[in-house]
């Protein structure tokens, strides 16, 4: 049976929908100079923006048909974990490779949105959207992940830190696409992510703290400490990282003086935004507490 659409009353405004089969084709359909033309991954963020009428596309370029090519999860020849730009968040959640090589992602997934959203949301969309409350950018910054980007002139690579430049802002040109993310294999690296929602687990967090500790011979060699959600973009805290470097590991914790320096660094070196999730002062206090919990969680991981 074929049915017409006479009864459809729609919330969305009409647009052109293209479904390229190859990456070059997709790139050729994008436009650097027209913000009404956007690529669409899982569409979960775009659909919300379109329904709220904060985004009215002229053309959407769906990347769905590229999923077979760009949706994989694999190790490269140097042992780096490579997540395809079209890999869904639920494929990350259930991947044995991710669990072995970046278990911090596996552990974070059940707390990221919900099952239905994770079934369709993609790695590329989770990075390119650059909503500061999102979890994956903060985690991937702590893992020093490299983002692979394809554009009309070829491909380039940026660290997540350099990709996300501000509140909903990235270094991507309008005609560039995220094709994947690579997480290098670092022996002895332990990582943790703690997300702090003030009401229910599905709410946007007031704070996300991600950290990675490269441990060897009973001490921490280097550390990355990243604050998300409470800031404009995932923000590293170099003074906290310096305080952790060289610290002796005592069971699953560190000397009290070291923890004090880390707490002070995250409290004094980061500008915390006040918004619906809480005041800046409240989030600063959350960060002081949760950064230490994240250290314990990482050392236990």
């Amino acid at each position: 049976m074929n049915r017409g659409n006479d009864r459809l009353e729609n919330l969305l405004i009409p647009f052109e929908l293209l479904e390229p089969r190859t990456l070059p084709e997709a790139l050729s359909m994008l436009a650097d100079d027209d913000t009404a033309v956007r690529p669409m991954g899982g569409g979960t963020a775009l659909m919300l923006m379109m329904k709220a009428a904060v985004f009215t596309p002229r053309r959407l370029v769906s990347l769905r048909a590229l999923a077979p090519a760009l949706g994989g999860i694999a190790l490269d020849e140097r042992g780096a974990l490579c997540l395809g730009g079209m890999a869904t968040l639920s494929s990350l959640e259930h991947s044995a490779l991710v669990k072995t090589h970046a278990s911090v992602i596996t552990r974070a997934m059940p707390q990221l949105s919900n099952v239905r959203v994770r079934h369709v949301a993609t790695v590329g969309g989770a990075l390119a959207h650059a909503d500061p409350h999102m979890d994956l950018p903060t985690i991937l910054t702590a893992l020093d992940a490299r983002v692979q980007i394809a554009g009309p002139g070829g491909s380039r690579e940026l660290f997540v830190d350099a990709l996300i430049t501000g509140y909903y802002e990235t270094a991507l040109a309008g005609n560039e696409l995220i094709t994947g993310v690579a997480i290098d294999a670092v022996p002895g690296r332990k990582a943790a992510y703690i997300k702090c929602t003030t009401r229910a687990a599905d709410d946007w967090p007031a704070l996300g703290v991600a950290l990675s500790l490269v441990c060897s011979g009973g001490h921490i060699e280097t550390a990355r400490v990243v604050i998300g959600a409470a800031t404009d973009r995932p923000t590293r805290v170099p003074a906290a990282e310096a305080a952790l470097a060289g610290a002796l590991i005592e069971g699953t914790t560190l000397a009290a003086a070291t923890l004090d320096r880390v707490r002070d660094a995250v409290a004094s070196q980061v500008v915390y935004t006040s918004d619906a999730q809480g005041s800046g002062a409240y989030k600063r206090q959350l960060a002081r507490v949760h950064v230490v919990r994240a250290i314990t969680a990482a050392l236990q991981a």
Binding site: R3, N5, L8, N10, L11, M47, P110, N114
Partner: protein, 158 residues
């Protein structure tokens, strides 16, 4: 502006169907308005509440966030497909016995999500049930009864 329409062909609750849609139509609208399957309904419209849950290629999605165009070639099932020949599924029966709804607005979503969970994890822990259903909201707050119903169905299906 004249809107370009297209024809999509997909399997809906086991039957091959086709529909004429525009790119901006959601799958939820097509399932409800074109095919008259009103079990899934739009409530939050934002992916949060699960009232619009549909199964696409065996995975739960929020119909309110899905474009109908992407259903072309897909297998779509709705809550109307849970009962076979008028016989309710064990989970549906357990929902009734446990009183796992009051107004029933959220029920189709809870049923599809819990059916999905039990298919992949026949003996879920309480935490696993909560986790899988965490994206479903019930304004009548029947959560304890829903938990019991899912556990009861799991026991009976074991």
């Amino acid at each position: 502006m004249s809107v370009a329409t297209r024809t999509i062909n997909f399997t809906l609750n086991g039957a091959p169907v086709s529909a004429t849609i525009a790119p901006h139509h959601t799958l939820l609208e097509v399932v409800r308005d074109t095919f008259g399957l009103n079990g899934a309904r739009e409530s939050c419209g934002q992916g949060l509440c699960g009232c619009c849950t549909l199964m696409v290629n065996g995975q739960s999605v929020s119909g309110c966030l899905s474009l109908a165009a992407f259903a072309d070639g897909a297998t779509v099932t709705t809550v109307e497909n849970l009962a076979v020949d008028g016989k309710l599924s064990p989970l549906q029966t357990a929902f009734i016995e446990c009183g796992a709804f009051q107004c029933g607005f959220c029920t189709s979503g809870f049923l599809l999500m819990a059916t999905e969970l039990l298919a992949s994890n026949p003996k879920p822990t309480e935490g696993e049930i909560r986790n899988h259903l965490s994206g479903n909201l019930c304004r009548c707050a029947t959560y304890p009864e829903v938990m019991r119903a899912v556990q009861l169905a799991a026991e009976r299906m074991a």
